[in-house]
């Protein structure tokens, strides 16, 4: 974990927003500003300048607090796009 943080820091990445995916189990996201849409197949999130679309099956929000979001279920894809609002 320290190595990852070191690499990301050297790359100048924004560590306030990140996605951790455990295939077939869950997806953990940091820096979520708001949930734009929510259904078992698609969850759309706003993370500042980015919009994240999480697709899968039987998904549900396992926990959401202070920008940390846990999505339970079979997550198939995470799509990152620049937000249209910016």
């Amino acid at each position: 974990m320290k190595l990852l943080q070191q690499i990301l820091s050297e790359l100048g990445a924004d560590l306030s927003a990140s996605v951790t995916l455990v295939p077939g189990s869950c997806c953990y996201l940091k820096g979520v500003k708001t949930i734009l849409s929510f259904s078992p197949e698609l969850i759309t999130l706003s993370a500042g300048k980015l919009t994240l679309s999480v697709g899968g099956e039987d998904m549900q929000v396992g926990g959401y607090f202070e920008g940390d979001l846990l999505i339970k279920g079979a997550v198939r894809e995470v799509k990152v796009e620049k937000s249209d609002r910016n």
Binding site: I35, L36, F38, Q60, V61, Y64, F65
Partner: protein
């Protein structure tokens, strides 16, 4: 996390999540069921949730209370039952400290009254604490009772159980009657361990005469008690024996026929009289008859 309360709200999930996020409320296990949005919050946040969705347009309700709240609510609803159960438990616990019953068992059950009296004297009265009962002393006293070979004192809940076993021999039971002669004769010896001798050595007695009284004279007062002692009475008897002849063998057979009927024979003599087909041997004997009372 088990201590979460499930909230059902008729609202778009996105709107509800936005409002909850703004209020810094952590939400868990969010899902949609038709028009309803279902989520869980910690117990401490329930009031906040209801405050956020206080407007009539939101139909908000608790779907399933947390385990803690369900238990608490159940206890409050059944306060009487809980109080009764608690009182019962406390009463049962406290009653275990006190003696509510004394049970005497075993083959020595016939000694129940004596055993209970000993137990009471050693502090085992009803409603008295077990701690006031001196078990070793009581066991020792019970073991000293006649015929008792085993004694075990135990506790079963609030019942004091005393197991008493007696030996095969019947315990000695005193006869509360005077010593009465069952024969006629002359008293050779009389010994009164308890009670008062009614006759002296050398006195003539008949069957039914009292030999030892069950009591004693104390000044002018007669005190009832028991008679214990023995007497030896010299008695005489006559017996006949029919024999074919008066030979020594026939005489010996005649005396042998007396057997042990007369106990210790002191003196004997006989005469022979002719009879049809043989002789009649007439035996005159003196014997010592022993009689006793309350001696083991």
């Amino acid at each position: 996390m088990k201590n979460l309360t499930e909230i059902n709200i008729t609202s778009p999930a996105e709107t509800a999540l936005k409002k909850l996020q703004r209020a810094n409320i952590a939400v868990y296990d969010c899902k949609k069921r038709g028009a309803e949005f279902i989520f869980c919050v910690k117990d401490k946040d329930i009031k906040k949730v209801f405050a956020i969705f206080a407007k009539p347009c939101y139909n908000v309700r608790v779907g399933r209370a947390s385990l803690k709240n369900r238990l608490l609510g159940g206890l409050i609803l059944r306060a009487g039952l809980v109080a009764g159960a608690l009182i019962f438990a406390v009463a049962a616990y406290i009653s275990g400290f006190f003696i509510l019953k004394i049970e005497v068992g075993g083959s020595g059950g016939y000694l129940e009254s004596v055993v209970c009296r000993i137990a009471r004297e050693e502090g085992a009265s009803l409603l008295k604490p077990f701690s006031s009962f001196d078990s070793p002393v009581a066991a020792g006293r019970i073991l000293s009772l006649p015929g008792v070979t085993f004694c075990n004192i135990s506790r079963r809940g609030s019942v004091l159980v005393i197991d008493v076993e007696t030996g095969g021999e019947e315990p000695f039971k005193a006869v509360h009657a005077p010593l009465v002669s069952d024969v006629s004769g002359r008293v050779r010896k009389i010994v009164a361990i308890c009670g008062t001798a009614a006759v002296e050595a050398g006195a003539k007695v008949s069957a039914g005469d009292i030999l030892i009284y069950a009591g004693a004279q104390a000044g002018e007062e007669w005190i009832e008690g028991i008679a214990a002692g023995f007497a030896e009475i010299e008695c005489s008897a006559t017996a006949e024996y029919f024999a074919p002849d008066a030979s020594d063998k026939s005489i010996a057979a005649a005396y042998a026929s007396l057997g042990l009927q007369y106990g210790d024979i002191i003196s004997k003599k006989h005469s022979v009289l002719p009879s049809d087909g043989g002789v009649r041997i007439i035996m005159e004997i003196e014997y010592l008859h022993k009689i006793s009372i309350n001696l083991t």
